[in-house]
Every structure is written in C-alpha cells, then in structure tokens.
C-alpha cells in the first residue's frame, strides 16, 4: 500500500495562500460551468458522438431523481431502496391526469409531483425512526405496496400492461407555443432538472442542509444538541420523494407511457447505483452516475440480452477503483482542495 507515504507527502504541502484558495474556488465553479455548458449544448453534440436526444432526456430524468435521492443517501446518511415508489407515483399522477382529467402538460406535472410528494410526506413519519438496514427494508416494503396496487388496479392503472393512451401536449404560453418535440422536450426536462439542482443547492447551503450533515456525521451528537433528528430525516425523505416524483413525471412525459415497472424495487436499486457510482454526497455525482448508467445500458443492451450482468460488472469495477464514487474525492479541509482516492487507509486513523 502506498497510503502512508502519500499521507506524509500531503501533510508536507506548503502552507496555503490566498492564491491557492482562489484557484480552488475557481476550480469548484469550473466543474459546474462545464457541466451546464455540456447540458445546454447536448442536443448539438449528442448526435455527433453517435447518441440521440431522447437518451439525453433520459439521463436528465434519472439524474434528477438520483440527485433527489442523494439528499437522503449522501447528505443525511439514510439509504432508501424505495425511491421508485415516489418516482412511479409521479409518473402515474401525470399519466392519469393527462388521460382522465385534462390534456394539459404543466398541470399534469403538478399532479404527479403532488401525488408522489404527498405519499412521501405521509410515509415519512412511519419510517423516520428506523435506522440502517431496517430503514432500507421499510422503504422497499412501501414501494412494493405501491407496485402491487398499480399492478392490480386494472381499471385505473391498466395493470401489468401499464398506463398508455396519454401523451404530452404542446404548451401554449400565449405569445409562443412550446411543441415539446424531442429537442425542445429535452430543454423542458433540463428546465426542471435545473430547478431541482437549484433547490438542492439552496437546501445544502441552508441550516436545514447543515442539520442533515450533522445527522449523517453523528446522529447521537445531533440529538444531544437538542435536535429532533427524526423530523429532519422526515424532511429529507419528503423532499427527496417530492423531487423524485418530479423525475417520475418527466419519465411519463418522455415515454408517453408508464407501468408498474417504474415502481419496482429494481428501479430503486438502479437509482442507488447511480448515486454510489457518481459519488454519494457529491453535488454532481448522481448526474455522472446516471449518465454512465444510462449510456452503458443503452450501448450494452443493443449488443447483448444479458446487458445487466455487464452493468453489474462495471459497477463492481468502479466501486473497487473508486470507493467513494467517481466524483467522490474525499474532502480535505483546507481551501476545499480535494484529497486523493485513499478513503480506506484514511479511515484507519480514527
């Protein structure tokens, strides 16, 4: 192991100055600038690299949901294997609204978010006191409950065959109409993705976000400060669920279809994989994880029926090579500079 040697070298770094601090600050923002530029120009460059716009929309939908899940998994320290419940409810809420209520896209999005968000808010109190594996198991149980409801309530949901017979409609802004074809639908999804990213960034800068971090780091200590940690876990769960429902709503609009598969726990597992792949508790990690996951899935599934095995192998390789995920460089205190991928030997010291 080269760990101890690397450590010593790091410890002997020259004292940081205002200049290095400035560079670190610029570096942090540079990542965001590059990511936003790539996302804004994706419809232009995706075809050039042999991909297509719908795949870009799909990445955004899953990235949005994985970023929402990251609130819970990465920032509060609670693993949910049931996020598909709220994703799927968002999809059904939107699909049912379009099919049975009114062919209006934006109200349908709201309906999906309201349905999934309400479910997350109501289920939250039932699971917020559970920890670790018990928390994860309970989230699975609730998601499977919704899965079976969707599968069996044929008259409303279309049962196993899924909910079809609805589609996204052009949005009329009075002065202009947004037709929501492939390219402008991408920007429609990007708008909601940006909204979600903005909300999460705001939350992480807020006292609520700081409280989540304290629960992740040492829940016992947080409780002794006088914090009712259960309710902050509830807040994380409710917000993550509501934003996941927004992701689900986008999924329904993207495919003009939804099915019980969107509620299935395998989908929940995929969201967790995206978060872990990109880096738990890193802002852009879930986007990177989603991009890799969706691209690999798209590419491999065109070559082999057995694509899931290969995605699994990819996941194992990434996790072994980057224990903290691809963007999961461990934070080093000084100037926000990052320390290398040596998470394990650094843990030993404590």
């Amino acid at each position: 192991m080269s760990g101890p040697v690397a450590r010593t070298a790091i410890l002997r770094e020259p004292a940081p100055s205002a200049i290095t601090a400035g560079i670190a600050l610029f570096n942090r923002h540079r990542v965001s600038v590059v990511i936003w530029l790539l996302l804004l120009t994706a419809p232009v460059w995706l075809p050039l690299v042999g991909s297509y716009i719908q795949l870009g929309s799909q990445v955004l939908v899953f990235a949005l949901t994985a970023m929402a899940l990251n609130i819970l998994v990465g920032y509060t320290g609670y693993i949910s294997f049931g996020e598909a419940a709220y994703f799927g409810l968002g999809a059904y809420g939107t699909g049912l609204f379009l099919k049975f209520v009114a062919p209006m896209t934006l109200p349908a999005v709201l309906a999906g978010v309201a349905l999934g968000g309400a479910a997350a808010c109501l289920i939250g109190p039932l699971i917020m006191r559970r920890r670790g594996v018990y928390f994860a198991m309970t989230t699975i149980a609730f998601s499977q409950l919704f899965y079976f409801i969707a599968e069996h309530w044929n008259e409303l949901t279309g049962g196993e065959d899924g909910l079809a017979g609805f589609q996204r409609h052009a949005i009329d802004f009075g002065i202009a109409t947004l037709p929501l074809h492939d390219a402008d639908f991408y920007y429609f999804v990007l708008f909601f993705f940006a909204l979600t990213a903005g909300i999460i960034a705001m939350l992480l800068r807020s006292p609520l976000g700081h409280t989540w971090l304290s629960i992740r780091e040492n829940a016992r200590r947080a409780r002794y400060l006088g914090l009712r940690t259960d309710w902050y876990v509830w807040a994380a769960f409710a917000i993550a669920g509501t934003l996941a429902a927004l992701g689900g709503s986008m999924e329904a609009l993207l495919n003009n279809f939804t099915s019980p598969q969107d509620l299935y726990f395998i989908v929940s597992g995929n969201f967790v994989i995206m978060v872990v792949l990109g880096g738990m508790g890193t802002f852009w990690g879930p986007l990177v994880g989603a991009a890799i996951f969706i691209t690999a899935q798209d590419y491999l599934s065109s070559m082999t029926l057995n694509w899931e095995s290969f995605v699994g192998v990819l996941f194992v390789v990434v996790v072994l090579a980057f224990p903290r995920g691809i963007l999961g460089l461990r934070r080093n205190g000084r100037n926000g500079t990052k320390r290398g991928q040596s998470g394990r030997d650094q843990r030993v010291r404590a």
Partner: protein
C-alpha cells in the same frame, strides 16, 4: 444556587453506584469531582445531565427540579455536558461543526433558506467562538483529522455554542499530551473568567484539578468522602488514605 443534589442515590440491582450524595454549586463556581476509579463519578455525571435517572433523591438546576427531565430539555435550559469519548462531526470542518451548534442555539435548524444577514450573523458567532477557544487557525480543517487535544477543544466549543449556564466536563484532559493539557486548562480558566460560566468537571489529573477548581468533591465507594477547598482536600487524611488505597 446553580445546581443542587438532594440525597441522590443510584442503585443498579444490588450495586450501589452513588449513595446519598448531596452537594451544590453556586453560580460562577468552578468545581471538580474526583475519586478513585469506580468511585461513581461518571454515574453521578450521567444523573446530573439526565442520561440516568436517580433511584432516590432530587436534582435541582437553576431553581427548577430537573430530576425527571430528559437530557435535551436540560440542554435547552442551559446545562450542557461534554463526553469522555469525543463526540463531534468528524467529516465536517471545525467551522461547520460549530455552525451546527450555533444554528441550533438560534433555533433556525429547520429553515430551508436564510437571509444574508442571518448567514452573516451565524458566521460572526462562529468566528467569535473559534477565537475564544483558539480554533481560528483550524477553522477549515476536518474535525476528525485534528489532533486528539484539538478534537476535545472542538467538543468543548460545540458545548459552548449552546451558550450554557452550567458546563459539565467529563474528563476534559483525558488522553491528552502535556502541552494539550496546558491548553485545555488555560481554556477552562478563560471560560470561567471571561464567560462567567459555572463549571463542574470530573478529572483524574490532580495538577489540573488543583490548578483550576475552587472547590473539590471527593467520591469514594459511591459516597461523598469530603468536599472543600483545594487546601482542605490536600491536607485531608481520609483523602490521602482513599487515594493511596485506590492507587496501590
């Protein structure tokens, strides 16, 4: 009276951990509890801070009977303790650690956004607290990567962020190197002098105890053996016997 224990007894089955303990603490007093291992110091601390209920007796804090209040209620009332095993937020920076305490004290934890003014006020309080505890130059270091002594200081600072009236320190210098001990002693003295805090602490290091405490309570076999000024304790034959017996 800041703190008063009224005939407090704690039994675990047949084992009597604390028997009929009565003592009190005046505001701004700095007092130590000492005693050989197993004398019941930690049990006593757990009862004062609310982690264990007494079997008999009452505990009064700041004019209120707190015997039946849970730890967090006592914290909100202004009684804050530190722990023998350091309890901090390891992968957050020192400043972030203290920020959580300060936002808790300001009661703004649940806010999903705050004004620029509030953010500035939080930052100002964090800076003041780091200046008071000598942590300013470690503000941006991860708390879990600090030296042991500095981690203990972070914990004390975290307790201070709640602006307690009574600070309970459970072996504040345990496991510390000599220069770290000196640093902690200086900090405790400064807190007492500048913040007018009432402080009660458990300690093994006699130079620390006699260096800081205005009053010392000696426990032996779960009872108060004697309580008095450092001079009285130093010259007390029973204390010497208990310690010679305990340490042999």
């Amino acid at each position: 009276m800041m703190l008063r224990l009224d005939h407090v007894t704690k039994r675990f089955g047949n084992l009597v951990a604390n028997q009929d303990i009565s003592f009190s603490l005046e505001p701004r007093e700095i007092s130590a509890v000492i005693g050989p291992n197993g004398a019941g110091k930690t049990t006593l601390f757990h009862m004062i801070s609310g982690f264990l209920p007494p079997t008999e007796g009452r505990i009064w804090f700041d004019g209120q009977d707190v015997t039946d209040l849970p730890p967090t209620r006592r914290v909100r009332g202004g009684m804050v303790r530190t722990f023998q095993i350091t309890e901090i937020f390891p992968e957050l920076t020192v400043a972030e650690n203290l920020r959580i305490g300060i936002e808790t004290h300001m009661g703004i934890n649940a806010r999903p956004f705050v004004s620029r003014a509030t953010r500035a006020e939080v930052a100002r309080r964090v800076d003041a607290l780091m200046a008071l505890t000598g942590l300013s130059d470690k503000a941006d270091e991860l708390a879990g990567e600090l030296a042991h002594g500095d981690q203990r200081v972070v914990e004390v600072a975290l307790a201070l962020s709640l602006e307690p009236k009574l600070l309970l320190l459970d072996e504040p210098t345990a496991g510390m190197a000599e220069h770290e001990t000196d640093m902690m002693v200086a900090l405790i003295k400064r807190l007492h002098a500048e913040r007018h805090l009432t402080i009660l602490f458990i300690e093994h290091d006699m130079s620390v105890v006699f260096g800081i405490a205005q009053r010392i309570t000696v426990l032996d076999y779960g009872r108060v053996l004697v309580s008095g000024t450092p001079e009285e304790i130093a010259n007390d034959a029973r204390v010497q016997a208990a310690y010679l017996g305990g340490e042999a």
